[in-house]
């Protein structure tokens, strides 16, 4: 869909993937095609009976056009049942008043669930929280990841160790990480307040303070994802041809200028990718705020209740399935808009630069 926007040949076939970085090594191993040896395996090319191959029957030709669908059928069948059907059905449910306790009784409300949302103070609070927590978690996470990736890109002793260790948080579950952090952020007996107390900062109320609690929840997200993003940036950096740096060096560009003018532009597709993924993740944020204090309301004043959590409270705390469905759809639309805006923005930028 965005084909032609960027430099020719950088979009993968299929065309619809402007959001993902598409660095491809320009020096694809061409030799491979000649030798006909599979790199990973030992599979000898099959040798079917020659007579059958000589005259492909009509049935086989039909099969050849149909068979590709057989390969995607399992995925799309599953997708239809667990992806598409829920999507459509949620839209249907969102037009009714449905209670979990009596799911058989559906009362038509039209767009009532949606209009009620716009008058619903808690909805706006959770929308605002989703946004602020999203910013508080995404921005530091990506900036720090960029810095770490830059360092990891140096020639280092024990680089595998550093990379693996930094990915460790990614392997932890939301549930486990949040339980640990909830402990660390405890008001009276938490380690964080103890350390802050050593340097003379009075106990911070990481639970009830609006900013403090949002910082605490964001910290969990940042901790889990910074290393992962650093590795993705690192991969992006490594695919930037070193000739570019050499050329910049010859022009007398400083390290910082090299970072600004070579690394960052080269990383742009990767950055767009991580921003999009993080935005989606932030919009759907749910486990961290739920488990932080174990309350569906996201704190006593809803101070860190996100949209995902509010949906859960409506659906499984108060049993209002119809309203919960409406919130779910609003979330989906929000993501579509955010991702669309992102893509548009990225496309504009690259157009502008292509035209320069």
């Amino acid at each position: 869909m965005t084909q032609g926007a960027g430099p020719a040949g950088r979009c993968p076939p299929g065309g619809a993937l402007p959001l993902v970085p598409t660095h491809r090594p320009t020096d694809l191993p061409k030799g491979r095609t000649v030798t006909l040896t599979a790199p990973a395996g030992t599979a000898a090319p099959p040798t079917p009976p020659p007579d059958e191959a000589a005259r492909p029957s009509a049935a086989r030709r039909v099969w050849a056009t149909v068979s590709p669908y057989a390969y995607i059928a399992p995925f799309f069948t599953l997708f239809a049942a667990f992806g598409l059907f829920p999507l459509v059905y949620t839209a249907f449910v969102s037009l009714y008043r449905v209670e979990l306790q009596t799911p058989g009784d559906m009362e038509w409300r039209g767009l009532g669930n949606y209009t009620a949302l716009f008058a619903d103070e808690f909805f706006w609070t959770s929308l605002r929280n989703t946004f602020t927590i999203g910013v508080l978690s995404t921005v530091p996470q990506l900036v720090m990841a960029l810095g770490l990736a830059h360092l990891l890109n140096y020639k280092l002793r024990g680089r595998t160790f550093f990379r693996t260790a930094m990915l460790l948080p990614y392997a932890t579950s939301v549930a486990a990480a949040t339980l640990v952090f909830a402990q660390l952020f405890g008001h009276d007996f938490g380690l964080v307040n103890y350390v802050l107390g050593l340097v003379g900062i009075g106990p911070v109320d990481w639970q009830t303070g609006t900013v403090a609690s949002q910082v605490a929840v964001s910290t969990i997200v940042v901790w889990r994802w910074t290393g992962y993003n650093a590795l993705i940036y690192l991969a992006g950096m490594q695919s930037i041809p070193s000739e570019l740096y050499e050329a910049a060096e010859m022009d007398g560009a400083s390290r910082w200028r090299q970072f600004l003018h070579v690394t960052l532009p080269g990383l742009r597709p990767t950055i767009v990718f991580t921003v999009v993924v993080s935005t989606i993740g932030a919009t759907q944020l749910f486990g961290e705020p739920l488990l932080y204090e174990g309350s569906v309301s996201g704190g006593i004043s809803h101070q860190y209740q996100t949209l995902g959590l509010y949906m859960y409270e409506q659906g499984w705390g108060f049993f209002h399935l119809g309203r919960a469905a409406a919130i779910a759809w609003v979330m989906f639309l929000l993501i579509v808009v955010l991702v669309g805006a992102n893509a548009l923005f990225a496309r504009r930028r690259s157009r502008k630069e292509a035209g320069r």
Binding site: G14, G15, T47, I72, F82, T164, A171, S173, V180, L184
Partner: protein, 278 residues
């Protein structure tokens, strides 16, 4: 930190210092989990808190076994994550191969749809999905978590990207000239070549399935929990011995850490590969 530019730059002391700090920050919560899990509730209420492991690990693990049925949870999680991993890798390799190398009508559009589904929040499907599994009387049964877990748009996309590069068209052409059917090509050529990609996808899927949380807490209950459901139960409980909770967290995290410890290198490689290609 002078000389050479670009990718051959050597790391200086500052770089090491920052990286070591980052590693410590990454690892500290794990260490803290061990400390907390091996102490008692009263220890944890002390100021200043102690930073060394204590003697209560076994007692706390026994308590968590009693209170949250972590044993069942571990077995369930293993079944769920294992099935999801095998199923996902298989489905995604099939579809990824078709999208990468087969020609058929609607290929571009279908691929776009697939990628688009990555935007659907998991919360969206929960309500109807729940109604469906209720209709099938699957509430509280493992297949209600396994089947929806098999849908992985990311996986399809990942395998497609992998195969576009790793599988030369010529290889397929040659096999076709020799008269091999597509199915034959798939099993004898595609799968062996796709194996490294499948392994990475399998690892990522396993970790994601193990850690998945939103749908399982709706579909399952403490009667038949996965590890994450059991952890959530511990975190929201009345009897709230922090050291016991931490022992549960430790038990629930260990298997993934084990996988990570053994195959961390491959996972790192996989993520970086996936990032560049996909």
């Amino acid at each position: 930190m002078t000389t050479r530019a670009g990718r051959t730059l050597h790391g200086g002391k500052v770089a090491y210092a920052i990286l070591i700090l980052a590693v410590l920050v990454s690892a500290f919560p794990f260490y803290w989990t061990i400390v907390a899990a091996s102490r008692s509730n009263a220890d944890l209420a002390q100021v200043p808190p102690s930073l060394l492991p204590g003697p209560n690990l076994i007692r706390n693990i026994e308590a968590v076994m009693e209170e949250a049925d972590i044993g069942t949870a571990l077995v369930n999680s293993l079944i769920v994550s294992g099935s999801i991993t095998v199923g996902t890798v298989l489905c995604c390799t099939l579809a990824g191969f078709a999208f990468a190398k087969l020609r058929f009508r609607g290929r571009g559009a279908l691929l776009a749809v697939t990628v688009g589904t990555m935007m659907i929040p998991p919360q969206l499907g929960v309500i109807p999905l729940f109604m469906v599994i209720a209709e099938l009387s699957w509430v509280n049964q493992l297949q209600s978590v396994i089947l929806p877990g098999l849908v992985s748009a990311f996986g399809v996309f990942f395998m497609r990207q992998f195969l576009v590069q790793a599988l030369p068209d010529e290889l397929i052409e040659a096999a076709r000239v020799d008269g091999a059917s597509t199915a034959r090509i798939f099993w004898s050529i595609v799968v062996p070549i796709a194996r490294p990609g499948m392994a990475v996808l399998g690892l990522l899927t396993f970790m994601a399935a193990w850690n998945d949380f939103f749908w399982p807490i709706v579909a399952l209950s403490s009667q038949n929990p996965t590890v994450q459901v059991a952890l959530r139960q511990l975190g929201g409980g009345y009897v709230h011995d922090q050291s016991v909770i931490m022992a549960g967290t430790l038990l629930g995290t260990l298997p993934v850490l084990l996988v990570f410890g053994l195959l961390g290198r491959q996972i790192v490689g996989g993520i970086m590969q996936g990032a560049v290609k996909g």
